[in-house]
Symmetry: C2
């Protein structure tokens, strides 16, 4: 047994004997303990802070004497004077081992620290960014052993940091010589580790941060999150409307635009890239940094957005067999895409799963990890196109289903985007058939005192996506709407709120003479189609998996966060499941982008995962149409929904008097597809 002092690190539990005088950082490195350092032990960066513990440690079998570490030294004193060192902390590169010692590495001193996600059930992100800072001292040129300045810099990075052979772009080469001399051969380098590229160098020790962007490029909005690559912290977030909207609201209309207009695809590519740069400028300003400090960016998007962003005509995505130009993950340079970030910035696009199931679905798979779930989980990303994943540790299936924009309030007579004044919560009294509701921006229900005051500024302006889901479900629960989706007449329902409105009936929600809010039977049809598309996709995956039920349902997408599980289930939008097993994952695609940005290992993971996901193309599955027709009923013409039936009781009403009011969702869908 060694007579050298025993050094024990917590929380890793790694331990070893080291000669007296060994710096704690050196001991940590030799044991492979995750202790950060940018300056390589020169007492400059203060990243290697540790907390020594003294006294008896029966668990570790050691007693730590008061003098187990060397005394506080002048470097630590200087740092403490300048910046303040937390009580009990030492600089790992300065404190030297003198006797047996137990050393705790605080979370903030770990390179691969955990970045905590806000949702309780979500996994934390292990920090492992593409680009890190390294401080080095470079050998000066020697005429007897001539070598390039770059080669000596690369050698220093290899010797001091054990980095592989690195390369540099021409832009860096142009600045290299003056910076090395300005820093007197001491420089800080930002190194892209995967690409083995020196991104930038600063003379001396660079005290600032470097950043990365996680971007969720949606058909409607583009959202970006700026992260500090050393801490994982989101330092700014912002979003803009996708400027491509002027070429078409939904994906297929944009594909059509490019088919009908020569150069149309290029126009849309330019528009989205311009929008992106506008967003980046906005985010950088919010964070108070310059855009050239953004060295890495990760993008998630659906296949059409993916192709248009890359400058590829999405023509093939508009028709079977929906062939992607490329489906694998892409590593590009920001400059190739015309993005105004650091001149050498790298860009990563997650892989696409199939022609209809894009990198956004891959990002959801990364965030929600159905393939790591013990129980069978259905993940539904609700949008104009729903991406659906079903799986557990055994296997994962995926498909997409064209829900259309109804869930976003479009094509609904009183529909609107989620904004103050929009109805978001609804209850209908099953006895009186009277509605009560709440609007965005107020916590007061419409039948409570103070409601008029609360909405004085906004008024009641319409119904947002989650509101329309609750509205339709409540109408069904109150017996105003039958299973096939017909609104009853005032006679059939016993309320004058149901009124003849053309050939069918409508329900009066808010009887404001200036701005009445009603639900028409056509609105019901739109919702039926949207929810039937979603359900039949999920049901198809269940068929393929060989199950009739799922253990839990995760609703992803910003919209998913606002959906009431009970109402969604009454509508038959999602399969029958215990209500507390239906949760929201928020913007899971955006989270997936952030995970891929902060942890490059997660990129390899999702690339592998995507290969293992089994894709189902709804368009060529004969049972899809059958499921769709069944799912047009509310909740469903054939599925029993036994768990739902223990929670609610659906009135057994039928309003079709046989008079040919057969404008069913299924019938309309067939016509539209024809």
């Amino acid at each position: 047994m060694s007579n050298d002092p025993l050094v024990i690190f917590t929380p890793s539990g790694k331990r070893g004997h080291f000669p007296v005088g060994t710096p704690v950082l050196t001991a940590a490195r030799q044991l492979g303990v995750d202790l950060d350092s940018v300056c390589g032990g020169r007492g400059i960066c203060s990243k290697c802070q540790i907390t020594p513990s003294y006294g008896e440690f029966p668990k570790h079998g050691v007693t730590v004497a008061k003098d187990a570490l060397s005394d506080w030294n002048s470097v630590e004193q200087r740092y403490d004077d300048k910046r303040g060192l937390k009580t009990g902390r030492r600089l790992g590169c300065q404190a030297q081992v003198q006797g047996d010692i137990v050393i705790d590495v605080p979370e903030t001193s770990q390179v691969h620290k955990q970045v905590v996600r806000k949702r309780v059930e979500a996994r934390d992100i292990t920090l492992n960014p593409s680009t890190k800072l390294f401080y080095v001292e470079v050998e000066q040129p020697d005429m007897h052993e001539p070598s390039g300045d770059l080669e000596r810099l690369v050698r220093a990075l290899r010797t001091e940091w054990d980095l592989p052979e690195l390369f540099a772009d021409l832009d860096l080469l142009k600045t290299l010589q003056p910076i090395l001399r300005k820093g007197e051969w001491k420089v800080t380098c930002a190194v892209h580790l995967e690409d083995r590229r020196i991104m930038q160098i600063w003379p001396g020790f660079y005290e600032g941060s470097i950043f990365g962007l996680a971007v969720d490029l949606g058909s409607t909005t583009i959202a970006g999150h700026l992260c500090d690559l050393a801490t994982g912290e989101v330092v700014a977030s912002s979003g803009i409307m996708n400027p491509q909207i002027r070429f078409g609201e939904d994906l297929m209309s944009r594909v059509s635009y490019s088919m009908m207009n020569p150069g149309g695809a290029d126009e849309m590519t330019a528009a989205v890239r311009d929008g992106m740069n506008e967003l980046f400028a906005q985010i950088a300003e919010e964070a108070g940094i310059t855009q050239d400090l953004i060295m890495d960016a990760v993008f998630v998007c659906n296949p059409v957005m993916h192709h248009l962003f890359l400058g590829i005509d999405p023509f093939e995505l508009g028709q079977a067999p929906f062939a992607l130009a490329t489906s694998e993950a892409l590593n590009l340079r920001a400059a190739e895409l015309g993005l105004a970030l650091h001149p050498a910035a790298r860009v990563y696009l997650l892989p696409c799963i199939a022609g209809h199931v894009g990198a956004d679905a891959a990002a959801v798979a990364l965030s929600e990890a159905p393939g790591k779930s013990e129980d069978l989980v259905l993940v539904v990303d609700v949008g104009t196109n729903a991406e659906i994943l079903l799986g557990n540790r055994e296997k994962v299936l995926a498909c997409s289903s064209p829900t259309g924009p109804a869930f976003e309030g479009a094509q609904i007579s009183s529909g609107q985007r989620a904004a103050p004044g929009a109805i978001e919560r609804v209850e209908i009294d099953p006895m009186t058939k009277e509605p009560r509701f709440r609007v965005i921006g107020s916590d007061i229900w419409s039948d409570e005192d103070g409601f008029a005051d609360a909405i004085a500024d906004t008024g009641v302006t319409g119904i947002c996506g989650s509101g329309i889901i609750e509205m339709v479900a409540e109408m069904r629960l109150a017996g105003l709407l039958d299973g096939p989706g017909l609104i009853g007449s005032s006679e059939q329902t016993g309320t004058t709120r149901c009124f003849l409105d053309g050939r069918t009936y409508s329900y009066m929600v808010w009887d404001d003479p200036e701005r009445p809010i009603t639900v028409t039977n056509r609105d019901i049809r739109e919702i039926q189609m949207a929810k039937a598309a979603l359900y039949s996709g999920a049901r198809l995956l269940m068929d393929k998996f060989g199950v009739d039920s799922v253990d839990r349902v995760v609703l992803a997408g910003a919209f998913g966060a606002h959906i009431s599980p009970k109402h969604a289930m009454v509508l038959g939008m999602i399969p029958d499941a215990p209500l507390d097993m239906v949760t929201s994952a928020g913007n899971a695609a955006g989270t997936g982008a952030r995970i891929a940005l902060l942890n490059t290992k997660a990129r390899r993971e999702i690339e592998q995962t995507v290969h293992n996901i089994h894709k189902i193309e709804t368009a060529i599955e004969p049972r899809f149409q059958e499921h769709f027709v069944n799912a047009s009923n509310i909740p469903n013409a054939v599925e029993p929904f036994p768990i739902l039936n223990t929670v609610v009781s659906l009135p057994d009403v039928t309003f079709n008097t046989g008079g040919g009011g057969g404008d069913t969702a299924g019938g309309r869908r067939r016509r539209r597809r024809g």
Copy 2:
């Protein structure tokens, strides 16, 4: 022993048994025989032509029957009708083995064919270009197994051609889908094998060629050679003046320009790149191709040109310790350098050996391979800056020496560039001291009949570099010039051609009243300085190598081709050696560039070689100055030149009468350096 027929390939001698019906191409591939094919055996490309041999082959122990191969088939018939197949040839992919057979693979059907160099002593180039053509049939998209078009293309290239995972630029992705469909899923790909990148695809079988450029970027001229990458053949060559000349004739004046003028380096970068593009356009036009078929380019140049071409300020190269920004070989994209080639074209720059010994010297090392020489060889690339290599299998040393422009006819009173009318050959009668000479453009000596007619068009316009070397050497041999470099008076020399010309004497070569051609003592001084610089560099390397003589001398550079070995040795420009051991390598740097272009293995070889070359910096070697002073004498103040003395006898004359005519080269050099 197998009962299957025996197939023997020549010239490789590879042999194996194959079942009846095996196509010859298949047999060749399985045996690793170098038999070309672009279409993968589909009878389209005709690259796999072979010549079967019939009859008795005691050497191989086989008898080949007339029916040892299957009959001529319709594919071969169609090819023969269309293009004509040489008598005796078969298509290797069509002809099937029926019995024991001997098959010759002609040179033109080998992938790694030898590209023959013109010089007898030069090694051939084994063809192994960066970029090759491959024809493939791609699987069509399948909705049940969705994958990107690119991924299926890459898979086809892997399956059919055993290529590794390949990547594509965005530009290619943009064109991929329509081209695959236009070619009905049959395409030809140009693949950069080192960069694992699909450069371009063509629908169907592409019948054309792809090209590469070898560029020798000199301070004065830029020369380019366009090569067919499949045959190695030079299809066009051209040269232009380096447009940087307007910023300074020599390297140091360009470095000064960038130091004195803010943005000066960028101006020079733009100038050389513009010039390059002009050259490329010129070469492409000459070859009758479009520039976008040029997919690879290799550049050799000295360090200052190297930095200016890359856009790096050469400031550091103008002062000790002459630090290069980067010395390793560079793999770049042509687009980064603003070069108008194929949009995805790659560029390779050979490594630099040291701050004064550039990629051009590396190219000379690649072409002349001193490190592979059994005997000790001195390679001298004569230019305004001479690069000198000394070595054998044991080791190689390198240095550069600033010879200045005198060898190019500059700074010589009657000097001129090599052009019609310039004196290139000289003899002086040692008895009469009368000169006779020949000018460029005529084979008639000046004392022969018909000379006047022969030069009627051009006149005698001056003395070119090789002419001035012969002139000075002949003056020394004829006793007109003493060892220290003084021209004698007419009294001392006995000829009135020597005349007082200011403080010193000059020699009248061509007494044309309108355009007399003389050699002044100042001209002698310039040549003394230039040759002393060259010799002392070589001598320094010999010191370092521990030798006093070399086995052979190779003169590289366009100018080197015209130098008379005897005269160079009389001048003491090169070390003493048997005259037949002094040879010219022509433009060895350009040849090195061509080798690196056509054989990527040679790139790895020179990168390794350069690491092993030991660099000597003349500026910090104390003995260099001593060698220089000694070498200012003609041929040398201390070196005996014993072999030269068996060929010529140098008159022992001294013209310094002690009158203080001490304007020696050494003295002037010291003043200039001070």
